[in-house]
Symmetry: C2
Amino acid sequence: MRGVSNLNMASGEGGAESGRPATIDDVAALAGVARASVSRALNDQANVSAKMRERVLRAAEALNYRANPQARSLASRASKALALINCPALDAEPNSYYFAALELGALRAAAIAGFELSTLNVDANDPRRGEKVIELFESGRTAGVILPPPLSDDAALAATLVERGYPAVCISPSDAVRALLPGAGFDEQAAGKQIAERVLAKGHSRLGYLLGIEGHFSAEKRFAGFLEALAEAGLDPDAVTVLRGDFSFRSGVELGQAMLDGAERPTALICANDDMAVGALFAAHRRHLVIPDDISIVGFDDAPISGRIWPPLTTVHQPIRRIAASALDQLVEIVLRGQPPRPRFETIGYHLVERESLAPPRD
Amino acid sequence: MRGVSNLNMASGEGGAESGRPATIDDVAALAGVARASVSRALNDQANVSAKMRERVLRAAEALNYRANPQARSLASRASKALALINCPALDAEPNSYYFAALELGALRAAAIAGFELSTLNVDANDPRRGEKVIELFESGRTAGVILPPPLSDDAALAATLVERGYPAVCISPSDAVRALLPGAGFDEQAAGKQIAERVLAKGHSRLGYLLGIEGHFSAEKRFAGFLEALAEAGLDPDAVTVLRGDFSFRSGVELGQAMLDGAERPTALICANDDMAVGALFAAHRRHLVIPDDISIVGFDDAPISGRIWPPLTTVHQPIRRIAASALDQLVEIVLRGQPPRPRFETIGYHLVERESLAPPRD
DNA sequence: CGATCGACTGGAAGCGCTTCCAATTTGCTA
DNA sequence: TAGCAAATTGGAAGCGCTTCCAGTCGATCG
C-alpha cells in the first residue's frame, strides 16, 4: 500500500524531494539565488535581470512551484477579502438566477486571483444599506466590494466610496455612478433597442412592456432603447401598455395576467427580464392562450430557463458570469495597485437569441 | 472629508486604537496574557483555566477581534484547500442547476468554515478520472475533496482514497461507497417510492419511466423505489415503458418524444430528474399535447425551473445546497481532526412537491 | 582612471497565527 | 509544611511569502 503511494510520489508529481509542495525557498535553492529575487522575478517587478528571471522561472517550472496564497497575502498585508453585495428587494425571488450567476462568476475569478470573496446580504429597502457597505471597509476586513444593482445605481454611496478611497466596482452601473466608479456590463440600451426592432420587424404594433424596478438603471436603459426603436419606426409611445414589475417571476405572472385581461390586449409583450417574461408566459398558459399565436413574448437575460420552457423565449443573452468576472478582475487590480478606482467601464458583448416566443401577429 | 472618516473610526467600529483590525497580540496585551494563551483560549483547547478563558474572551470581544484566517492556516500548516469535483458526462448540459447549487452550497459553507474551495472539472468518461482526484492530494495542495455523482458511485476510487487516508466526502454515494466514505444525501429510494405512489394513487396504470445515467446510484435507487411502489400496488413492472436518459434536458426532449410517439403512449411519465421531466414536457408541448390531460409528467429534484414552467411540475424537493453544505462541514471536520474519514452518512430531509403536472388519467 | 550612479541582488525583518517546549503555578500527598 | 506531579502559562520558533534596506557590480562621466 505504502509502496504504491511512494511510487506515485516518486513519479514526480509534486515539487521538493518530499511529497510536500515546493516553497519559494526550494525554488531559490534550485536556482541558486536569494528568496527575494525569486519573489521579484515571479511577480514580475522591476529591477530583475533577464537572466535572473529566466533562471527563476525555470526552477519554478521544474519544481512545479505554486505560490501559497495564504502566505502571500499575509506577507503583503493585503486583506485579500473582497465582498459581493447581494441587495435584493424584499419581495423578490429568494434565489434568482441573476445573483447566482453573478456569485459564481465572481467566485471563480476570485479563486483564480487568489482572493477570498464573501457575500453580504443587504436589504434593498433598508435606508442604511449604504452604511452597511461602508462598515465593511471600516471594520478593516474588506479590501473591496462589487456592487450589483440596485446598489450600482446609488450615486450617493458611490461618492462616499470614492471620497474615502474604498475600492469598489459596479455591475451595470447608472451613468451617474459610471462617472465615479469602474464597472462592467453591456450596452443595455442598444440591446433594448435591438430586441424592440426585432419585435417591430415582425409586424407588431399593439405592444405591451413590463418594466423592471423603478429607478433600476439597466431596466430604464432597456426601456429607453425600446422607446428609441419605437420613435425610429414612427410609432406612438403612448399607445404602448406599460406596467411596472420588480423583475420577479411572480410579478411577471401578476402583470402578465393584468396585461392579458386588459381591454386592448397587446400582440407582443416585451419584458425587462426573463423572469418576468417566464411569469407572463405562465399567466398566458393559465389563460389557455397559445404563444406566440395569441401573443408574442420576449425577455431579456437569456436565463437557462428561457430555452427550456414552451415556447422557448426570444431574448437577449446577457453574459452575467463574464460580467461578474470582469468586475472582480478590475477590483483585484485596483486593490493590488492600491490606486483609487478610476471610472473605467468594461463592456461585455451581448447577442440576440431568437427562439419561438416571437412571431408575427396573427391577424 | 478626512474628518468624517476619522469620526467614524473613532466611533469604535474596529479593534485596536488605529483603524486596522485587532490582532491576537492586541488581545493578548489587553488581557494581559501571552499570545499563546489567547490562541489556546480562542480555539478552546484543553488546559486553559476558566479564568484565563474568560479574560481572553472578554478582551477579544472588546476589541471585536476576528482571527485572520490566512495567518491561521499558514501557521497551522493546514493546506486548507478543499476541492469539489465536477464530473459531468461529456454530452450533458454545461451548467446544470444541480452542480451550480452544489457549488454554491459548498462554497458558502467553506467560507463560513474559513476554507478555500476550488472546483476541479473531470470528464466522466475519462478512464483516468480517478487518478486525477488522487493527483490532487499528491500534489500536496488539497486537503480534502467532495465527490458528487458519478464519482460517489466509484467504489474503486473510494477504496484508494480510504487506503491512503485522503479525506473525502460523497454526495449521494452508492451503498458500496457509503460503507467506505462519509457522505450526505437523502433517502432516494423512499422518495422514489413516494412519488410513484402518488402517481399510482391518481389512478395511472400505463406508466413510462425515464431513467438516469446507467449505474448512477441515485437514479437506480429512485427507480428501485418506483419498482417497490409498483410491486405493492400489484402492478406488472414489465408493462412499464422504460427508457434510459442521461439526466439532461436534451435527453428528456428526445426520450420524451420517443415515449409519446410509441405505440402505447403512457398516461403518466416519471422522470429520474427534473431536467429530463422538463425536456419531456417540452417534447409534449411540441406535439401539441395538453399536460396533464394527455399525459402526466413528474420529476425529481425540484429545480427552480420546475415551478415556473407550464404546467408546474410535481416533483420531489431535493435540498441540494444543504446536502452540499453538510458534506463540506463533514469534510472540514475530518480535515481539522486529521482522523481518517469514518463512513458516516448524513441524511437530509426531502419532501414531495405537488403541483399541476400530475392529474388522474383522462379516459 | 577614479568617483559616481544606477541597476541588481541578497539579507533580514516581519505579516498574524499555531505549537513546541520550558517555566511557573497549583493541588495534593506524606 | 515540604515535595512532587499535574495543570497552566509564557517564550520563542517558525508557516511561506513580501519588502525594506544595504550591499555589489559594471558602466558612465569628468
